[in-house]
């Protein structure tokens, strides 16, 4: 099989991996080719609107495992291919110097054995760093069941490592991934966290993970609660959510017509609230088997249930109160605080500052005044109706460019 065909097969096989971030690395720069850029850089956008930042490929798609949701599972009759470390290194360098990519995202199916696979990933990354003196961004998967020593060696060469948690509960994992156990995933994850805390230049851009949503009956509460634990316990940089795309016809998987993109979008928003805005999963959900409201973003959902905390007076509210107002993000809150030192703020000032009032106007006062007189005694249902009326439902978006500085409204998660 020639390199063109391999790249097509092993690129396509990797496209369901969600992460594409290339940001936040603080590895020391040596001489050699290239550099990382702290804000990350997108190099293109595919027809589905997701950005391409890294050359995202599988080392191989020949798998000894048989996970129900995975296109590469052993029982599927698909075209199989395996790169050599040299081939991937060569592609990476040549794509990089033409500015097609920011670096490499290397994942793999499990061929022969977990250790064999991990060894190949290590060799590839080693070639890039030592033979080619490559300084660009490298994200590499840690393979479940691989020896911790191999994972450790690889981690010193990578900017980011990730172990896929795959599914939001042990029950779902048992059902869909008979070959993987909770331990096989959490053990390497915990190991990476530990080494990263002790050693310099070990996965300098941190650790991430991803899970599939919509393939099992796990609720949004369960998903967000799990993420909260992952952030706290394993200090993960990111949890990615991937709306399940039906690639296999398997009776164990929930029937989905098309990937639940809007649900995925809402989960990313809720994730931001947990990670950046200090919300907790228990605050966002009333009961433990609940899902997010698809019609409004999770901050609006929360605010409507806690109307007794509103309206918030813009000229007096604390930073913590301000960022909990729907429509006011971190950037706006900071601007408000800095600016009200000079003079008290009216709604017009907020507009000029770039605060979007579409949602915020129902939840704030400026010097005691509401935005319009009639906005005073609105009930939750009426506010919700007003917010969803005009633009009906927003198109779901794949928010794969989260870490980037150029998209500041996205990075600060202003919702």
């Amino acid at each position: 099989m020639d390199i063109l065909e391999k790249l097509e097969v092993l690129g396509a096989a990797a496209k369901y991996d969600v992460s594409c971030a290339s940001s936040g690395s603080k590895r020391e720069k040596h001489f050699g080719i290239g550099s990382t850029f702290s804000a990350g850089i997108c190099h293109s956008w595919t027809d589905d609107g997701r950005c391409i930042s890294l050359l995202k490929v599988l080392f191989t798609n020949e798998c000894i495992f048989d996970c129900a949701y995975c296109i590469n599972r052993k029982s599927n009759d698909i075209k199989r291919a395996t790169f050599t470390p040299q081939e991937i290194a060569d592609l990476t360098i040549n794509f990089y110097k033409r500015n097609y990519i920011e670096g490499l995202f290397l994942s793999s199916a499990i061929k022969n054995s977990p250790d064999w696979t991990m060894e190949m990933l290590f060799r590839t990354v080693w070639l890039l760093r030592y033979k080619y003196q490559f300084n660009g961004y490298i994200h590499v998967k840690a393979i479940p069941y691989a020896s911790l020593d191999l994972i450790r060696k690889t981690g010193f060469l990578a900017d980011r490592m990730s172990v896929n948690i795959e599914l939001p509960s042990e029950k779902s994992l048992k059902l869909l991934c008979p070959n993987k156990t909770k331990e096989s995933i959490l053990k390497p994850m915990e190991f990476i966290t530990k080494v990263a805390e002790e050693e310099k230049n070990f996965v300098a851009a941190g650790q991430s993970t991803q899970m599939i949503i919509g393939a099992t009956d796990d609720s949004d509460y369960k998903i967000i609660n799990l993420s909260q634990h992952l952030y706290k316990k394993f200090k993960l940089k990111r949890v990615y959510y991937s709306a399940y795309t039906p690639v296999n016809n398997d009776p164990r998987i929930l029937k989905v017509e098309s990937p639940p993109l809007l649900r995925e979008h809402r989960l990313y928003q809720a994730d931001w609230l947990i990670r950046v805005y200090n919300f907790s999963a228990d605050e966002l959900f009333k009961s433990k088997d609940e899902n997010l409201d698809l019609e409004v973003d999770p901050k609006v959902m929360w605010a409507l249930r806690n109307l007794d905390r509103f309206p918030v007076e813009v000229n007096r509210a604390s930073y913590e109160q301000l960022i909990r107002v729907p429509g006011i993000g971190i950037k706006s809150a900071r601007r408000i605080i800095k600016n009200r030192v000079f003079h008290s703020l009216e709604f017009d000032d907020l507009k000029k500052m770039g605060v979007v009032l579409k949602r915020a106007k129902y939840f704030i006062t400026c010097n005691g005044k509401t935005f319009e007189r009639f906005l005073i005694d609105l009930e939750p249902e009426k506010i919700k109706q007003k917010l969803t009326d005009k633009n009906s439902l927003q198109r779901p978006q794949q928010l794969s460019f989260f870490d980037r500085e150029v998209f500041t409204s996205v990075i600060t998660g202003e919702i």
Partner: protein, 247 residues
Amino acid sequence: MYKIFLYDGTFEGFMCAAFHIISEGIDKDSTIIVSKNEYQPMFIDNVREVQSDLKTFLEIRKEMIKKADNSVFKRIYYAFLSDTKDKEGYILRYLFYVLVHGKKIKYLYSDDIVNTVEKMAKNVSREIGKYMGLIRFCETDKGFLYAKFEPKNDIIKPIAYFFKNRLNEFYWVIHDVKRNKVAIYDRKKVQFLTCDNLKLKVTHQDEMFQMLWKNYFKAMAIEERKNLKLQQQNMPKRYWKYLLEKN
């Protein structure tokens, strides 16, 4: 009658002109700074040409950074690269503000001059950010990498310095086709020149990588999630002209 200050079109030249206006106490509201190339003479004009002078430039730069900070100076520079008409007028007034308000200028959201300069700078910075990712180099038979683009704003300098750091091991040329400007890097320093005609051929090997990249680009799209509107929102059409995968 308006006083007209002509400068050579460079940022340094502009700042020198501004320096004269500020230090000589000339009324900014009856002053126009305009680039020599864009000036159409009228016989009643009171014209003065200002020479670019590095020492003067560094002096006013130091002053601005002292009054405010680096980020404000960067804003001024980016705003200058903008293709907005009469940018000089806005920036000149902005400079006066910096002298009065210092750092606080960043929070004067409600002022139109500050707002406009801010917007110009943001527009430029956004375009630089996009082109960091969207410029495509090809390997030429002359042994250097070559990339062309047509930015809205005059951003070849910051772009070239970005690639000086990134592609430091290679010889390369970046070409702004709209302005006939080139940045040439010889593995040591970047030079900026004008250029009319470049005859180059890409190597056979390069054609192969172009094809690999185009195929890869197609293979990465998930059919079930197709969303061309989102693609265009992230990557507007004006960037497509020299974008390999979109041709």
